[in-house]
Amino acid sequence: MDKRNIQLDDNGQLRHFLTIEGLKRQLLVDILDAAESFTSVTEQTVKKVPLLRGKTIVNLFFESSTRTRTTFELAAKRLSADVLNININASATTKGETLLDTQRNLEAMQCDMFVVRHAVSGAAHFIARHAAPHVSVINAGDGSHAHPTQAMLDMFTIRHHKGEFHKLRVAIVGDILHSRVARSQIHALSTLGVEEIRVIGPKTLIPVEAHTLGVHVHHDLRTGLRDIDVIITLRLQHERMSGAFLPSEHEYFQLYGLTEARLELAKPDAIIMHPGPINRGVEIESAVADGPRSVILNQVAHGTAVRMAIMAKAMQRLPNLSARELH
């Protein structure tokens, strides 16, 4: 394996954003700080800044997604970039050659950034490895591997509501096994140094190696929520029902559905998060989703600013000082 982090350039600056893993705490904090700055842009009459004027950003979506693609598109447009949205039926492009060909064609059209979503883990890495020198790649979700921009907007939301990370206890509830969101959240939370990370869910939906990520595993929602500051509920994907992971949605709600009654053990000022789209009555009841402690819509609102920050950071090309000094 390549020891160098493919995500960083020779100056240690962000070039691709593929996974939280291997990124330093300061870089994550820089992204959160930059996102804070970008939130003011939406208050202008002209909700746009010229940072990426003249750049072309391609949303390369091999897997459908409305919300993620929309916020990426909005973020790119608010940075004044031109945006191409390309939705490709995943079944036609499962072979590496095809993916590479797609990429080569788009690069020939002088595109500067690819925002990639793909059902196969590692797809964004693959594209980044083969990217032309001027091209940046952002992972918008790959298989069950990573969804780093979602994790960063969740971190932004947590910091916005709770302040410093080091005293927080955070619980992630639901299908951890298949969740790229959960994986990225765990890496981000531990890099940012929270007090404790718990994962809560049935044995079939928690990876056996979960403890190696530095998390505490709970199978009982009630004990898992004790003294928790932040609760992140994950979407229960319907397709999981077919794989014998769960008996039924109804039974899942009985055991792991987030209800007002079950929130009693968490801290009174705990916040409730969900990456969306939510299944009311499956992983969360409406009273909780729409309740005063829910910050689910804040997460969506923060998504654009956080993605603007990540895109802007990845597109800046600082001169390579050591290389220049050699000449």
């Binding site: 930059a34 700055s37 800044v49 800046q316 090309r317």
Partner: protein
């Protein structure tokens, strides 16, 4: 000129007097003063108080509008620009500490226009050090000086304000 001996507070008092005359001659009654973050905002704070302006002071962080973003990178902590009243059809006094290439002012003008269409914009600067790369001039200049290429002036603050000459950063 010995830059270190300049007294910014005295210069600002002179600027306030010049601005008062200028505003009167142009019959501008309720201007909006906007300071460019950070040094310009310090100067603007004092001018705003001395002129007794009614509209609250605005601040502008032009980091997102710089033309050298891809070369020097993004300022890690860009302060949110704050324009407390609408600039639509309003007379604006833009304030900065050091006027050099003019690129900061160019960026500030662009940002201002993203908030609306002002009736007019005046520019007031503490020190004009020459070296313009754009056709931009200030309406009110506190002090003028010429510096060698690579030399810079820095305004330290917010309390007390102090000017110093700095050599080539790198």
């Amino acid at each position: 000129m010995d830059i270190d001996s300049l007294n910014p507070e005295q210069i600002i008092a002179d600027m306030a007097a010049a601005l008062r005359t200028l505003l009167a001659s142009q019959e501008i009654a309720d201007p909006l003063m906007v300071g460019i973050y950070t040094g310009g905002a310090w100067v603007a704070q004092r001018l705003h108080r001395q002129l007794g302006l009614e509209n609250p002071l605005g601040t502008l962080d032009i980091s997102f509008y710089r033309d050298d973003f891809t070369r020097v990178g993004m300022n890690p902590q860009v302060k949110p620009s704050l324009l407390p009243v609408s600039i639509e059809d309003r007379h604006v006094i833009l304030v900065d500490d050091i006027l050099n290439t003019g690129r900061t002012i160019r960026a500030a003008l662009n940002e201002l226009f993203d908030y609306g269409r002002p009736a007019s914009i005046l520019l007031a600067v503490l020190v004009d050090r020459g070296g313009r790369e754009l056709p931009i001039q200030a309406d009110v200049v506190g002090a003028r000086t010429r510096l060698a290429a690579g030399e810079h002036i820095k305004l330290h603050g917010p309390l007390p304000l102090r000017l110093s000459r700095v050599g080539v950063a790198r």
